[in-house]
Symmetry: C2
Subunit: 268 residues, 2 copies
């Protein structure tokens, strides 16, 4: 085994250990965990809603880039051998009639309410954060050890069937002289949200106060830094709310599914 | 209107004129027509098959990158205002029980057999051919005025529901000292097949004779040129055959839908 293979094996081991810890009940945001391994947003819906959702994702690919879809009733994925999607995320949200009903660290009981749950794993901007850090660009919420700030924007997604809603965006403050580079680096990962959707001018996105995110934590913005916004995989949860979806299970924002797939897989 | 706007307007006008000619019965391959405008593969299926197909596309994104999905029963698309997907392609194939039943230049009658046809428009490698030509790389089938050669490969696609089949590939001969550049240029268009799936060694793809393509026309291969293979949007037709799909309408290979969307839209 050469040095590169050893590093890859160590990263997969870190991903598996993290999943095992979450399965055993540990609850914590996943930013910065198992660096270099792709993390994913999760939404599971009864089969009756699967086509509408897959179409919604196809029509809104910046916000909802689909990395894998499980067969109906199966809690497994090709992205991580042996993983159980009902237990291996740190925190889940159970949605009923478009409303957040509860947060749980084990979704097994909720999953069992329907025998035909279809699970969608959706790309996460965490994938390009390692590349940003490697370029020497500070990723604030990792540095400060908190969750990334996310906001419901005023941008409508293109509807599909019974689903409609607004785009949710994540925000990272970037020094003005590194913004172009951050846009370029993230743009090389189109299947995990890609380039920013908006740079500066948060009011134009309908965001009144950057210090009051709708999901996650507020972060420091230093003088000379510009807020940079990326489409966010929490967008499906906004659609669940806006559309009054009868039943859904999602990850809790920032508490992602850690896969066995290296970030480099999604680099073009 | 400045020079760039005039050029864009001229390209859209060329796309509309081509669609109008096809609507009026003209039959011809579309390679090299309306340069700079995105062309798309088409497959239309009854709604009952739509989820399986959308999932098949998601699981095989190199071969089946979905650019748009029409609502059930609607022959329109956001990719070209005013276009009618039943008539605006030069040539269609009607499939029954997995077999090619007929080729027609107007699919209106076949379309009317089901009231809930869902139409998928899938990215086409023609999109990056303009970029290849701009880099001074000869695109042989355009130079020689014929259809691109396409082959059924031995690579299985990942199945989805009732759908399975092999990947179809298109081939362009490229001088050995330009192959890396051709890979790089096409790789910047990931949503229209992206980088090659295979370079050289056609036997390894299960292709015995490059001069006998399964679809399209054979092309000259000059000394010093290497056959370069890209995933091809005819792959859905191979799935229709392999899976015995009861009813489908597709474009005829090489006879694409010309959209009003500039190729640059799909550049990352």
């Amino acid at each position: 085994m050469n040095a590169i293979q050893r590093a890859q094996q160590a990263a997969i081991t870190a991903a598996r250990q993290a999943r095992a810890e979450y399965r055993n009940g540990r609850v914590a945001p996943t930013a910065g965990i198992a660096p270099g391994m792709t993390q994913a947003n999760l939404i599971a819906l009864p089969r009756d809603w699967a086509y509408d959702f897959l179409l919604y994702a196809q029509r809104n690919p910046k916000a909802c880039p689909v990395l894998d879809v499980s067969d109906a009733g199966s809690p497994t994925t090709v992205l991580a051998e042996g993983a159980d999607l009902r237990t291996d995320l740190p925190l889940y949200r159970i949605w009923r009639d478009g409303k957040l009903a509860e947060e749980v660290s084990d979704a097994t009981a909720a999953w069992a309410e329907h025998r035909d749950m279809v699970t969608f794993l959706i790309g996460c901007s965490f994938t390009f954060e390692t590349a940003l850090q490697e370029a020497g660009i500070d990723v604030r919420h990792i540095t400060d050890g908190c969750n990334v700030p996310m906001y419901r924007s005023n941008r409508a997604c293109r509807p599909a069937g019974r689903l409609h809603g607004e785009m949710v965006v994540s925000m990272r403050p970037i020094p003005a002289d590194r913004v172009a580079e951050a846009a370029g680096i993230s743009g090389r990962y189109p299947s995990v949200h890609g380039a920013p959707v908006h740079i500066g001018e948060p009011q134009r996105l309908g965001i009144k106060d950057l210090q009051k995110p709708d999901f996650g934590d507020a972060v420091r913005i230093e003088p000379g830094e510009v807020p940079v916004f990326w489409a966010c995989g929490v967008t499906p949860q906004a659609a669940v709310m806006a559309s009054g979806v009868p039943f859904a299970i999602t990850h809790s924002p920032g508490h992602m599914f850690i896969t066995d797939v290296p970030d480099s897989t999604y680099h073009v």
